[in-house]
Symmetry: C2
Subunit: 264 residues, 2 copies
């Protein structure tokens, strides 16, 4: 967990995973560090309930999504270095886990370059929380040799190689995929993935308004559109979901909500 460098300053930075949204899914360590922090930098994905854990801290919002103008990554890095150099205990809180689509690499490089002491505290990635909501084992040994966490947004808009992923016998957990569901569907089918492979999307993972949509690779784009699935959502694809998809669709049907069951 600890990655410390020798340092001339008395401040320290903690890059901390905030988990998927539910404040109870913070780690005990994250909660403790928030209570001890002088300064807390947070993303938009981190809910405001979590801030009740750090009433003593100066909170700086550095979100990169939503209606407001986003904070450039270079500015965030400068801020981390400046606050730590001033002797402060700084918590950089990131949605999910810092090592998975958290751009931790760039902040680590900046802290290394400035010789700032830091520590990374892992968190519950949203994909793991989505699996818990679904009730699925992502690595069910009868169906998958493992699980891949991917984003539908490649580097600088580069296309994701869905065909290579389709052939690797992995359950796919897709972050930031809602707006690219059509492209993803087409490429998975072209890559040889079966059209009846189960797909389950979870919107607002771990929050009170979480919602699941059950589909298949063949129906996913249509099902997401009909259900008005919105970001942030996690899309899980794979044979490992088959039992859960059938059960979730049956539950929806028995509750008289046909919107989802039709797309199953």
């Amino acid at each position: 967990m600890t990655k410390k460098t020798s340092s001339q300053t008395s401040g320290e930075v903690f890059l901390v995973g905030a988990g998927p949204g539910d404040p109870e899914l913070l780690t005990v360590k994250a909660a403790r560090l928030l209570g001890e922090a002088d300064v807390v930098l947070i993303d938009d994905l981190v809910g405001s309930a979590i801030l009740s854990l750090c009433p003593q801290a100066r909170v700086i919002h550095v979100g990169k999504r939503g209606g407001c103008k986003s904070t450039p990554q270079a500015f965030i890095e400068k801020l981390l270095v400046r606050e730590a150099s001033a002797g402060h205990k700084v918590v950089r809180l990131k949605g999910g886990d810092p090592s998975v689509f958290g751009r931790a690499g760039e902040e680590i490089a900046a802290l290394d370059a400035a010789n700032i002491t830091y520590e990374i505290v892992p968190g519950v990635s949203s994909g793991l929380a989505a699996a818990a909501t679904i009730g699925a084992s992502l690595t069910h040994r009868d169906f998958a040799q493992g699980v891949a966490f991917v984003t539908a947004h490649g580097a600088d808009g580069a296309a994701v190689d869905w065909r290579a992923l389709a052939s690797a016998a992995l359950t796919l957990v897709v972050y930031m995929g809602v707006s690219r569901a059509g492209e993803m569907q087409k490429s998975l089918l072209e890559g040889g993935m079966s059209a009846v492979t189960p797909v389950i999307a979870v919107e607002n993972v771990s929050r009170p308004d979480a919602r699941t949509v059950v589909a298949t690779v063949a129906t996913m784009q249509q099902a997401f559109a009909r259900s008005a699935l919105k970001s942030p959502a996690i899309i899980v694809v794979g044979e490992a979901l088959r039992d859960r998809a059938a059960k979730l669709a049956a539950d929806v049907y028995s509750q008289g909500n046909f919107a989802n069951s039709r797309s199953a």
Copy 2:
């Protein structure tokens, strides 16, 4: 997080991720549930320090590794059903996250079949904690389109398709891979992965005796043997590690411990 079924019983089962080992890397929710449980079933991978959180509970060890005879999965499932049916609040604590190599699928199916109310509580998977130790972003957008969590032990001894994985542009996080490092190395090279791709193994992730070994795909088997790398360990492979591998090797060199730096 919640997956509840209608139930005739008053008991309930919580399938809870215990995280990688450090008790502070439990979630706040896991710690609360442990404090409320009547019965706690734990794996060998869960450290004894965590048990101080549930002094009121009856603790049943159901480990599947180590020197003792392992508990058959079917027996664990019967135990869960029996204790919940007796009206108890049961916490089934699993190392890491229940959805990643935790065999949660089989326990979920058993609970569904018995109509037991249950909830899955995600945890910090050991692979995420290994990344935090290394200080690496597993999904650095310049190098990887995502990250795959795989085990070197396929279903019923089936071989892992390392060649398909080698071609998917994913950082690989390998669980239970130490004893199969040679086979993995050979197949990754045959699958077209560059021999100089960085490899970092973390033994005893998140524990006080955690240790890292830095190598490349070409040198991994030799490096692990020379360092006497032991299970449990997480092996991370990918270009996303390049900066960290160089820095870790330099740190080891500067500390006069040449065992690791030679294999970098």
